[in-house]
């Protein structure tokens, strides 16, 4: 059985070496101590609310969250009335009506949060040719996930002298290629938090990352809670299997 241990150890080393350590030119982001990390981790509800606010007041003018419906915001921690109000604040195209025409109506809980641009071409035209990506899955769609998003948002800096910045681009060492079309989106006091939290860049970046982790993995809390139960069950079951095996083999050893 030493051999088994040896193979497993080697396999682990190999898989670590094989993990995606290639942010292609981008600096490796620092590890952040997120509330949702770890075996017992879960989302920080007040941070999610603040992050949602930052998304709506800052990001949503360029970036969509196409997989999120207003009803989902209730799971996130908004009250039903708040979610309904948010839905009713937007106009959704519906139809066709009896005349065969499309019409606009107030949003409902079942509607998705509408994207800022009707299609990719419109988004590019409005953003100097760059496409602001949808953010629903951003924290799962990049190496280092939430750490990367946080580092990117807080990582804008003066370009080093030897780097020539292309027109319309901004310097950010964490971005692949280190030049990003998005200008620095956050500044101190960009939003006003009702819960009294001070809206520093770091605070807002942390909250929006928390929110975007939720949009990418809304079942994380369920998953970790269920996981604990399943693991405990399986540890007991495996223990019982070992006991059964010993009992069965007792008379032949």
């Amino acid at each position: 059985m030493k051999a088994l241990a040896k193979i497993l150890a080697l396999a682990v080393v190999a898989s670590l070496a094989a993990s995606p350590a290639f942010a292609a030119g981008g600096h490796e982001p620092e590890k952040h101590d997120w509330s949702f990390n770890g075996i017992l981790g879960s989302y920080d509800k007040p941070a999610l609310r603040r992050g949602y606010q930052v998304y709506m007041e800052v990001c949503s003018f360029c970036h969509g969250v196409e997989f999120i419906a207003f009803r989902n915001l209730i799971d996130m921690g908004l009250t039903e009335d708040e979610a309904k109000a948010a839905a009713e604040a937007v106009q959704i195209e519906d139809g066709p009506d009896d005349q065969g025409l499309m019409f606009m109506r107030a949003g409902r809980l079942s509607d998705r949060i509408p994207p800022p641009f009707p299609n990719e071409n419109a988004a590019r035209a409005a953003n100097g040719g760059a496409l602001p990506p949808d953010l629903s899955l951003m924290t799962k769609a990049r190496p280092f996930g939430p750490d990367y998003v946080y580092a990117l948002l807080t990582g804008y800096e003066q370009a080093p002298d030897d780097v020539e910045i292309a027109p319309g681009m901004n310097y950010n060492p964490f971005y692949s290629g280190e030049q990003i079309a998005m200008f620095e989106p956050l500044f101190d006091g960009a939003v006003f938090f009702e819960d009294g939290t001070e809206a520093t860049i770091e605070q807002m970046a942390e909250d929006i990352t928390q929110f975007l982790m939720w949009t990418a993995e809304p079942k994380l809390d369920d998953r970790k809670r269920m996981g604990l139960g399943v693991m405990i069950f399986l540890v007991i079951l495996t223990g019982m299997f070992i006991a059964v095996k010993r009992r069965v083999w007792a008379d032949v050893h």
Binding site: D98, F233, M240, V244
Partner: protein
């Protein structure tokens, strides 16, 4: 010797029971996934504008994938519905329990027998012996309140939840 045997049996039975419970719990997600998903459950309501409907006219609207019959009843139909003899009704329900406003009958247009769509929405349709709706699949007759009068269907046509948002707008669901 006996004691060892019973201890051994206890261990086997306990392990078997524990594993069976685990297997049962593991089966639940595989079963529950077939129930309506969260996005399906969220698509619950439809609003309908009733203003174009004159008395004696009907429309069919789709709600949760099923047809909903909306009929602007004539005074005669209302009277007929209200005057029904309770003894004639297989599934007794007074008309007043089936409508919020007697002029408007709103019900799910699915026969309670085996799920066909009854006729009677168009003027030219067969309306059955009670001048309401008639299911051509197995010959169930419904009256002007959508109640089963004759045929194999066991229950009256189902009434969905709805509210009148104003005089001529109704929200179903």
């Amino acid at each position: 010797m006996d004691e060892t045997d019973s201890r051994r049996n206890f261990l086997y039975i306990a392990t078997g029971a524990f594993a069976t419970v685990g297997g049962g719990l593991a089966a639940w997600p595989l079963i529950h996934q077939m129930n309506p998903a969260a996005d399906v459950l969220a698509l619950a309501s439809t609003e309908v504008d009733l203003s174009p409907l004159a008395p004696g006219q009907s429309i069919t609207v789709k709600w949760r994938g099923k047809p909903v019959f909306i009929r602007h009843r004539t005074p005669e139909e209302i009277e007929l519905a209200q005057a029904a003899d309770p003894d004639d009704l297989k599934d007794f329900q007074p008309d007043s329990e089936r409508v919020q406003n007697p002029e408007w009958l709103i019900m799910v247009g699915v026969c309670t027998h085996l799920g066909c769509i009854p006729l009677g929405q168009k003027d030219t349709d067969a309306k059955g012996d009670w001048n309401g709706w008639f299911c051509p699949c197995h010959g169930s007759h419904y009256d002007t309140s959508g109640r089963i009068r004759k045929g194999p269907a066991p229950e009256n046509l189902q009434i969905p939840e709805y509210v009148f948002l104003d005089e001529t707008t109704v929200k179903i669901g």
